[in-house]
Symmetry: C3
Subunit: 358 residues, 3 copies
């Protein structure tokens, strides 16, 4: 059961070049995504309603697509506009179209009731469109339910053990640092965590000059339904008083991650890891991209094995520890929203998203 | 649910050379097919009733087969004739045998009630045994229900889009030509379709001398339950009046295709594509074999993807167009026959097969 | 449904060297087996109860293991002893531990009620720990239910057909030799079988000097629940009167095989094939290891295909022959024990195991 009346990241703009008809499963539905000759991005159900052939194996014609089994053609609204050898077009012969918004390299699709698809509800981040922040949007596929990735991002103590030599830096992170602020939001949570006087983690060390000093590290992470993660990271020289506001010379990152269910047991994972100190070329962005992939692969191995475990042992009951409070809150929020949606409630407003729960 | 009281093509004679014990699943049953030393083709259930070992992994002994797990031996009627180390043979220890008829390189098996297995019910085609018609019988395996292949052969407008560069020739075929005669038969349908003044399709161009002229093309196709297809194809020079009966210099083909269910989701596909203008060597037959395989691979990609779609979206409902009238009739006929068979009705007579529905 | 209150072979000692955290599924449960720094072998459930990560992907610390997702640490009894960043340890956060006994290179695990785990119930064989008997303990994985392997070992007439050129020697074995003694035991059966004046089977011929004579061959096999096989084999020169007690110059083997269910459809298969005439080096043991693997591969092909057959044809009913009496008795015994266990009965005593059924 998924939340339907909300925007999901469905593709990256570079996946849609050169007339590509991208077939992608979203929330268990088979969707065709493409950029028409008008330049608009279009999303249609990927099944020709005639005999079920894939429209993504068809042919782009302007903003329309032709099924290449018997030649039936559909326009960008999903309306059938031609049946070779037949004049009358039955009104039922149409494919579902999905609302689409393209924003800062990401293509968002609305899988629920199209009448409720308000672009203002998109959880977008201004940095993504800010030329001062640079990064390389990227994609990974997970053989795991999207909430297992949400869980992973909800407790950063895993950095210490899973990512010691990549994104974490040392096991000390789990023992010494703790979330200092945990805010429960109407649509997720916000966590702040400092690790003071710590070693520089490997991914960061690669892209800075001063490699040997100690740093004060701050992560402020926000997780919002359905699976949208945003993190501000700051590294300042240890001892300069970063915790009391002196950020002189600090290096900062902005990290967006979008978990979109493919099926109940697989996930599309999109992200962009941004920095604001790159300068002219993209060396730093490319190094960060490589470091993040390295780290995500460490997560992927654990998370995909978790998925297998849950499938093998359907009766397995997870037991919570204190650090699970954010993820437990998130799951309750999501369940409530799905439940409300099933009962016909309107989507939450754009404003509600960062509202703190009383 | 399959029609059982009818003949299915189960093998080609060249598959049974050199004492081969061919294990093949037919209608979900595991069948052993082999040629005994007497020369007769024999079909037995492929499970040793003792511990379920495969008889097709056993050893041929005369017309009998010995299971090579504990050495139990069965004769060509399926009767157990030896148990090593035991004198008394329990009467229950026997394997089912299936009626078999070998005809013109094809081996037909009857999967239903053996008492009803009348060879006169075989839907055979005289051309297959006529030395004036030459071709190379061949086999393909499909990961799709056999009726999706029947569907494919029921609407030749797909030639235009699926087989443009192989069997079709141009997209015009779908837009310009139409079935001129559609006959609904007691056991299937018959369709005639002319495409006048058309380009020569690639598969035909390869085997003729005059490569540049236009042709009038006629296909007369018959499809009969359970999945037996026969087509007469004629190419005459455009303008000579082929439609009004002048077939001078025309080139003709005879095309047989047999769809035999392996399981509910897979199919054995046998065919022979015959020509009558070959002469001494088999160059033309071999070229046609290669062209047909090329074309069938185009179908296979679409049809197997259809099968996947139907498995992924069990609720998917196909919507008909006018060109689907023959396939819709065929499915109704087949359902009625299966239903009648379940209620104990006799198989249709051989004569009824080409009877037109009033 | 498995018998739980009994000992199963779970690993070989050489699988646990160098701090290896061995993840192995036993009776459908995921078990971690390792040798702690104390030298003890420890078996714990392989799931971290926090988020279900594999402890076998964790880190050995002394006799404890640390989950490498969020760093939670468990001692050798399964008790949680550390949660990074959290002082209070919830009492529910523990993993199940399983009783373990290590004996003569084999590691035995008790999957049932730990309170009933009496080491005296282990069906061990003195030869395994006797320096006069030498062999190389080994492991194979089967894609088949363990009882199909038990069946295989319950009727040695299969030697004639499956192992003619490896362990059997000739098809005559099935036709000429028969079990002379069959004892039904409380926990299994015992079978004695002579094959007099027979050719030397290939596996034996490889390790002896006199390669051309005839031999009298005796096998005495015992099969005990849950799947424990023991066989004494003797080869004496034909004609010297081995059947009446003259064993001068005879060569003997001791053969242990242990079938441990991994799941309902897969099995861990452990064995050791011992000889007492090897001398200084291990050439004979290594030759026998290779011969046994060769033979087991012949069994594996048949048995794994049987498993597939039973899955494909769930309605398939095996039909017994006379030689199936031992395996039929074994299945009845096992069913009765499982049934009794489900009703809360105590495990059979160690003494009962070789008791003959009246």
């Amino acid at each position: 059961m998924f939340l339907k009346n909300c925007w999901y990241v469905a593709a990256l703009d570079h996946e849609l070049i050169d007339g590509k008809l991208l077939g992608r499963t979203l929330l268990g539905e088979h969707v065709l995504i493409y950029r028409g000759e008008s330049g608009n991005v279009i999303a249609l159900n990927d099944r020709c309603p005639h005999r079920g052939a894939l429209l993504s194996k068809g042919r782009l014609e302007g903003d329309s697509v032709r099924c290449m089994y018997h030649g039936i053609k559909y326009d960008c609204s999903g309306k059938c506009v031609q049946i070779p050898g037949q004049d009358m077009i039955p009104p039922k012969l149409k494919v579902r179209s999905y609302p689409v918004v393209e924003r800062s390299h990401f293509v968002w699709v609305w899988m629920g009731d199209a009448a409720k698809a308000d672009p203002a509800l998109i959880v977008d981040f201004p940095d993504l469109g800010d030329p001062n922040w640079q990064g390389i949007p990227a994609y990974l596929h997970y053989d795991a339910n999207y909430l297992l990735i949400v869980d992973n991002l909800s407790d950063f103590s895993h950095l210490a053990f899973v990512h010691t030599d990549t994104l974490g830096g040392s096991e000390e992170y789990a023992f010494v640092s703790k979330p200092t602020v945990v805010e429960r939001l109407e649509r997720g949570f916000r966590v702040e965590r400092w690790h003071v006087n710590s070693d520089v983690p490997p991914f960061h060390k690669k892209v800075i000059r001063e490699k040997n000093g100690k740093v004060d590290r701050r992560n402020i992470a926000t997780m919002l339904v359905p699976g949208i993660f945003y993190m501000e990271t700051l590294f300042a020289a240890a001892g300069q008083g970063a915790q009391t506001g002196n950020h002189v010379g600090a290096k900062e990152y902005r990290n967006c991650q979008f978990m979109t269910p493919e099926t109940e047991r697989t996930t599309h994972f999109f992200w962009s890891y941004l920095n604001n100190f790159e300068g002219e070329d993209s060396t730093i962005s490319r190094s960060l991209l490589a470091s993040l992939i390295e780290g995500f692969m460490e997560d992927k191995e654990i998370i995909e094995r978790q998925q297998q475990t849950l499938e093998e042992d359907p009766g397995f009951q997870m037991l919570g520890i204190l650090a699970d409070a954010p993820l437990a809150h998130f799951r309750r929020v999501l369940e409530k929203l799905i439940d409300a949606e099933q009962r016909g409630a309107a989507p939450l407003t754009a404003d509600s998203r960062l509202t703190t729960v009383a």
